[in-house]
Symmetry: C2
Subunit: 527 residues, 2 copies
């Protein structure tokens, strides 16, 4: 076993490494920011045999390679990096909420940070506008990648040595990169039976087909995954046996299910058996609610935020990531800032084996180059400067509590306004989605459909569409469950996905009430 | 002929349109921001027959489509957009140089702008952090797209009606999107004989081959382009006749050549004849120097910046864009902020027919989503708020003068330090690159190479590498010309590309002096 690492160990690790240079040549690698314990672990397996035709044709960019020959005595006339004096941005000042108080009402306690153009040169800061506004490294700035590497080291502790972090230009962009790097035209990927529609839509234009794996209350069912793979018939399917597994283990979109630790271990075992590569998409990871299973403290009896064990207890009670179980290096974990900081940043991070991450860096050179420097600078100033690692986790804890309240209002409203003989649901243990099943069999019009409708499955889509439209007329917009259905999954049930992320608490109640009215009207129950 | 439009007409156009809503539903389209004169022009031709397999498989995103059903009376429980109260950014303040004075030394005259989280709601501003930090439209925020649409309307005046602007996440990302949208595996694209290496490297992993068209002092030679296409033999080439033309008309990278207006017209005529689609990559467009051909005023006798005709004269003396000649809508113009504002923004813009732009918007939904909201907000605050359209052009004029000075120092240093019997060059009329030809035939070691070396062309690469390495030892890093050579181009000459973008003026002189020493040492001239 490797020794434990805490956030309190970070300052001494940084001291050993020395200050960041801010140099334009990409000499710093994320590997430098990892703690010594990482290097005592076994290396990842190679997954080069999973690379796509496109990925295999990529190498490092010519102009970038030239830059590696630079040193202090050499004058570069090589790459067209504009001189920072031509950036018309002199200073950026950001006001942040303090980690001790996150309510917007009390802005007196906000913290203000100003970053100048040349703060590195004048030793005022470790990151500045001259660096962030110029061309960046394909993994992200060393300043921000250091923070996320430390975060992953402490919170995830991947059980192999050569893991690496890279920034992404948001998870949507990262998913596109995943398909380009790991799939060829005609490939199948495996997903939960109902999954994030944008992931399916991102794969389709590449000629990649999805195949949905059955789910239960804990998400994807490992036995079905195993059966699917063990029984794969290449000639019948017209495609090689799939190896890419796309999953959303926590607060799954759209079903709201969360995989237990045992479930994750069981799915990982199937992945080991069939040599799968796992894409772990986890935007809602830190929004794990205080249900009985993960209870830290009762809602009504929260310990003060000054509790010295607060951060540790919160982190220890989170269900581990696949990355933390990944002895082989077969997991690419996608973390997102969109749901926990702000979607407009378009700057998130991913973690995987150096072998695979390097392929994404080649791709970045030819596509995004790097995420926006202003987004990186804003994130770094907030996370590394103002909050620090513990402050960031306290923010996540605050958000978790806020979404718990939103989830609770949603559940209370559903109990109050939805007819239980028609609508049913499970309690979401994480995330921002609630998945409502509507029993079409009791719809008064069900009998009116023709036999052909039944056979073609049209009855589901037609009834779903009626309910959707009636709800919209009543003044509430929900998502149809059918939009999230993966390939090969028979749509025998009607579902609606509702999110409690956006609307205010009174609006959530009002919206669920309207949805209830729509259901009752459609089903002619007590109208 | 359509009536003239000036920057001074913009305020009244905006007044007619009314204020921007800041709504989350994407009801605003860039078409709304165009002046009435646009709609009296003929429409673009369709280029649907040029779309790739990937592009033809794309449609609009399900979750985005759902959003279009929203109105004020409807509560959305549909898309997981976090509430702005959960964005931990309260205010952003930026300090900019004023348009009357762009030197960094005089920061007393800088302008400071603060943007709050909810400035739209409180009518304090037309754009705020609540909007910019949330998910954005795939074309970019309505605030920034309005600015660029107006800019293009005034400066470019495309001769067809249904042109449209979209933001990009930088031109590198846009180029990747171009290849995905317009090329299939096995296609050829046509480029200048020497071209931007990153463009070639971006195309290659898609299985796209490049074919270089001969160049002269004015860039690509239209007759050679015509010959290439007229004589295209499908069976000999193993590929269909190419239709994608990638060109850098102004301050070409790496050769520094600039196409005259007549040259552009001649190439456009070939494009019409062979039904080509043109990618106009123009990062250096506004850096057109005051040579005899485009002289506005002598360097030593610059009119005061307060000259009321300054902006108009500057713009009128720029060689028109292909977009301004494009009667058919067969041009996609890529503008970049990297060389004129800051590369780290990763936020630029492109213009083409609505037909083609719509395909890029579908792609954005599944990839970048939109450029960073902070980059968009910073750009909007500077361009629309602080500078305005005329102030932006004054900044471009200032930059042009700065790069003129850099170009001049480079030329003076070359004249001073490089042996003219070995090195030769043309005067760059635009951009940031100088292209130096080195006559390998007079190299003292040329005779020592074997006949096989001559036949295989190794002599060029070997001599080029020797000079490159010797220059590096002397303390100057240049780019090898061979790195920029397109497919099918015989490398019979040695070139080096030097940029005057980055180094200080004294460094440029020192670096050229070192390069001269390296040449002299290699060629054993007066050492």
């Amino acid at each position: 076993m490797s020794s434990a690492l805490n956030f309190s160990d970070i300052p001494s690790l940084r001291q050993k490494l020395g200050p960041l240079t801010g140099d334009i040549a990409p000499v710093t690698t994320p590997i430098m920011f990892k703690s010594p314990r990482c290097f005592h672990k076994p290396p990842a397996k190679s997954f080069q045999h999973r690379l796509s035709q496109e990925a295999l044709s990529r190498g490092s960019a010519t102009l970038k390679t030239a830059g590696t020959e630079l040193n202090a005595d050499v004058i570069s006339l090589a790459t067209g990096r504009p001189a920072p004096e031509y950036f018309p941005f002199l200073n950026m000042t950001l006001d942040f909420p303090q980690s001790s108080n996150f309510t917007e009402d009390d802005q007196n306690s906000s913290l203000s940070e100003t970053i100048g153009k040349s703060d590195i040169k004048t030793n005022k800061a470790s990151y500045d506008l001259a660096i962030s506004l110029n061309y960046g490294y394909s993994a992200g700035s060393e300043q921000l990648i250091r923070f996320f590497t430390e975060h992953v080291d402490v919170v995830r502790n991947p059980p192999y040595s050569d893991w690496q972090c890279s920034l992404t230009a948001g998870t949507t962009s990262a998913l596109d990169s995943v398909f380009r790097t790991l799939c060829n035209r005609g490939h199948y990927i495996m997903t939960e039976a109902y999954t994030y529609s944008a992931a399916l839509e991102a794969a389709r234009p590449f000629g990649i087909r999805s195949i949905g794996v059955q789910m239960d209350e804990e998400g994807m069912v490992p036995a079905h995954l195993d059966n699917l793979l063990s029984g794969w018939d290449v000639s019948e399917r017209g495609a090689s046996k799939p190896f890419l597994l796309y999953i959303i283990p926590t607060g799954q979109n759209p079903t709201g299910t969360t995989q237990s630790l045992q479930r994750r271990k069981d799915i990982y075992a199937v992945a080991e058996k069939h040599d799968l590569y796992i894409i772990e998409d986890e935007p809602y990871y830190f929004l794990q609610f205080q249900t009985q299973k993960t209870e830290v403290y009762a809602n009504s009896d929260q310990p003060p935020r000054s509790d010295p064990k607060l951060v540790e207890t919160f982190l220890n009670n989170l269900i581990p990531s696949y990355l933390s179980l990944d002895v082989s290096g077969r997991v690419l974990r996608l973390d997102s800032t969109s749901k926990i900081l702000a979607p407009g940043l378009r700057c998130s991070w991913m973690t995987g084996s150096a072998d695979i991450i390097s392929r994404f860096l080649y791709l970045h050179d030819a596509t995004i180059v790097s995420p926006s420097g202003l987004s990186q600078l804003a994130l770094h100033t907030l996370l590394d400067g103002v909050w620090g690692h513990e402050g960031f986790v306290k923010w996540l804890l605050y958000l978790r509590d806020e979404y718990t309240q939103r989830r609770n209002i949603t559940l209370e409203s559903c109990s109050k306004y939805l007819p239980r003989n028609i609508c049913s649901w499970s309690v979401p243990e994480a995330g921002m989605f609630h998945w409502i099943k509507v029993d079409w069999r009791v719809h008064s019009l069900a009998a009116a459909y023709s036999k052909a409708d039944y056979v073609a499955g049209n009855i589901i889509l037609k009834t779903e569409d009626r309910i959707y439209s009636t709800a919209l007329k009543k003044g509430v917009l929900c998502c149809k469950g059918s939009a999230f259905r993966a390939g090969g999954v028979q749509g025998c049930e009607i579902y609606f996905r509702v999110t409690y992320a956006t609307a205010s608490l009174p609006q959530i109640e009002e919206a669920i009430a309207r949805f209830g009215m729509a259901i009752k009207e459609e089903f002619e129950v007590g109208v």
